[in-house]
């Protein structure tokens, strides 16, 4: 959540273009740091040669394969080659399949984006209205129900919820597929499982933001002006309360792309998170590196989008920037 507040507003004394250039530079620098960390960590985690070759393979076989995969070179040399290749868009070949890494990423990315997008959509669809009405009807039945919903959503382990949903809707009722990727119906259970936790978080965030906004002077003034309550709530209240919610939602969406491993595993969903996890277990360095790089690029881009959204949603930020 690094970008939620700290990186939020653009400095008032720079124009938006130089701000963007600066942020782009920061993004590249951050990605270089990520690549370096992942490069070192993957190399520390074990040698893929031992997994690729049979236990009876000779020393000579090991040497040949090590050389073939370029793992015989000193680490700094390997690192230099890798960074230079990445700079020109070459992520290398998978050690296991020997196919270009980008093919593997593109194979899995659509499934991940699809799941993440629908889960995020569900989260916002459930969390924002419930949070808002929970704030408006504070202490009422709906508020209590919403808070129970939020507590359950944030305390239930994802794998348990996923399995329960599979058993109930997939096995007992037989109305939804129990796992795998297919049509729209296949999306319902994994997206709900993934989205429930965040919808609960969004609900709580919306509720507290709305409570804060509803107590502010400009809302009181709007009411005094005689504006319709719905206009006060939706136009003046929600719009201002949405600032932290939008930030949270965008960053969570990006987190979904790489961090939905549990949901992907429970629902046998062929996503990017699972690919990275599996590649870690097989020490497929290039896939891990490229996967993490793609995810960090998405995360940093998401962060940047949040900043831009801030200036759009909050006129004060926009006016100061311009």
């Amino acid at each position: 959540m690094g970008g939620v507040g700290g990186s939020g507003a653009a400095p008032p004394d720079v124009d938006i273009l130089s701000y963007l250039v600066g942020r782009a530079f920061q993004t590249v620098l951050s990605m270089l740091v990520v690549v370096s960390i992942v490069f070192v960590l993957t190399r520390l985690s074990g040698n893929p040669i031992y997994l690729l070759l049979d236990v009876n393979a000779t020393q000579r076989d090991q040497e040949i394969l090590t050389r073939h995969l370029g793992l015989d070179k000193p680490l700094p040399v390997q690192y230099g080659i890798y960074v230079m290749n990445v700079a020109v868009g070459d992520f290398g070949n998978s050690i296991i399949s020997r196919r270009p890494v980008t093919e593997h990423i593109w194979e899995r990315l659509p499934a991940t984006v699809e799941l993440g997008f629908v889960a995020m959509f569900l989260s916002v669809l459930i969390g924002v209205p419930l949070g808002m009405y929970s704030a408006v009807r504070r202490g009422g039945v709906l508020d209590t129900a919403a808070r129970v919903f939020a507590v359950l959503g944030q305390s239930m382990p994802t794998f348990w919820l996923g399995l329960m949903l599979i058993l109930f809707f997939g096995v007992v009722l037989g109305v939804l597929p129990a796992g795998g990727r297919g049509g729209l119906l296949h999306l319902v259970l994994p997206a709900f499982t993934l989205g429930y936790f965040t919808s609960a978080a969004i609900l709580r965030l919306t509720r507290s933001a709305m409570l804060e906004v509803l107590g502010s002077d400009y809302i009181k003034f709007a009411r005094l002006k005689g504006l319709h309550e719905q206009v006060v709530l939706w136009k003046h209240g929600l719009r201002n309360a949405l600032l932290p919610v939008v930030t949270f939602a965008v960053l969570l969406f990006v987190q979904f792309l790489g961090g939905a491993v549990v949901t992907e595993t429970v629902f046998a969903w062929p996503g990017l998170g699972r690919l990275i996890l599996e590649s870690i277990t097989t020490r497929d360095y290039p896939v891990v590196q490229a996967g993490v790089l793609v995810l960090s690029a998405l995360y940093l881009t998401g962060n940047l989008c949040v900043d831009l959204l801030y200036s759009y949603l909050n006129p004060r930020i926009r006016h100061v920037s311009s």
Binding site: S45, G46, N47, P48, Y50, L51, L52, L53, D54, V55, N56, A57, T58, Q59, R60, D61, I64, L65, H68, I96, S97, R98, R99, H104, E107, R108, F159, L163, I166, L167, G170, V171, G174, P177, A178, G179, G180, T265, V266, F267, A268, P270, R274, L275, E278, T281, T282, R283
Partner: protein, 533 residues
Amino acid sequence: MNRPFAIALALLTAWFSLLAAPSSVAAKPEGTLTVAVATFGNERWLPHLYVGAEDVVLKPMYENLLTRDPKTGELAPMLAERWQVLDGGRTWRFHIRKGVRFHNGAELTAEDVRFTFASIAKEGSANSLAPEFRAIKSMEVENPHTLTVHFDKPFVVFGNKVNQGLFASCAFIQSKRHIEAAGEQGAERQPIGTGPWKFVEHVRGDRIVYEAVENHWRATPHWKRLVFSKVPEPATRMAMLRAGSVDVIEIGGEYVDELKKVNVRTIVMPNVSWVYIILGGQWPTKATYDPKVPWAQPDAERARKVRLALNLAVDKQAIMQRVLGGLGTVLGSWLAYPADPWASETLKKPFPYEPAKAKQLLAEAGYPNGFEVTMNLTAWPGRGYLPDVGEAVATYWERVGIKVKRRPVDRAVFSADFRARAYSGVTLAYASPLVAPEMWEVLYRGAYTKASLNLFMEHPRLDEFIDRLAVQPNYQERVRIMRDEMGPFLHDYIPGVAIGAAHAIAGVGPKVGEWPLIAGHMGFHNWEYVTRK
């Protein structure tokens, strides 16, 4: 022979030929057989790139020269319609079946077989059979359907290396022309074989889709499509089976009761791996040998007492029941299944559970207060129960005073130590699948390469047995040596802690009919024979 009689005879022969060729008259393949397996993702299609770990998902597309009879376990023809063992095992001649076609329509020839063998043996090959195939001195293509393979030394069990009926069969015959024309990358993307299923789609670590080869020379599948789906979570696999999303699931023995409760049919694949505890360090000739390791110390008698104590301290029956779900047979020896002809009654009888005697033996060996030991808790593909077995054994050892340090360690990390024999004083649970029908072959493979002698121990007597068995062309004599000499030696030496032979199970959905399996074969196979209900 008069003409009417000849015509009648010809018609009769034709009629019987039709009856005898089930593939040509078999019902058209229909429907999709979907199989959920726990893990795959390292699948490689080229002969020098696959190590055999993905046998389950690769086998449907490929065939070997030979197979094993499902009932007797004996070698049987497959792509080779017959074979000859000449010169005391130094020469093997394979007569390749005529009319067998690859999925691109090209006919299989002896050149393809030679190409496959050469690819497996070439430098840098990752194929687990590479050491054995490097023993080939030369190969001659006598004619398009005859290949002769020469060895320097007798290789009496080479037939077991070109065998479909084992896990993992890594000598699947490939098309020379296809690989040369498509290039390695092209052949990896669009692999072909001679098997009853042809390649349709592959998303690594997610799914593999095959389609039935109609009028296949051996067996036309009953199902039109065969889909392997990777579903890592066992509870999801069970739910998918119950919901009808998949037809077959791979599942561990710990779920057998749950499957019974919900009336899911299970198929048991009996005795598919030997489960035992490796006692690391029994390699006195290696630089990594540590004479202070209690079970590998130079005083052979004391070391044996320690190994016996480590066996007596463990309730193997309880482990079999509670950790392996009762799916297995407790044994008192190593590298033997209960039905093997060399598994004598003595070898089958497990070491009793006698913790008091174990304590006494430890005291006699000079360890009245026990000693410290590390138990590696490492999971191996397809054998996820091994860390639990290790944990159970560690708990039993603690009851007789041994201090056990549990070390959860990833396979990739431990593999380096495993290869280098750098785990003296370390123990771990291990399970060997049936990669060779004769138990000594596992040891032979290790000894032959000189890279990992005898896998878990080395001993001059064992080397002597291996050398004798390796050149003994008579199967019955090899059985005798194993039953009367080598088996008793291992039983008396006690190289590790024997647990037993484990079964595997599959959950099967209502659409699946008959499914004949080869005894002792770890992993699903014979998909072409699975019938529809």
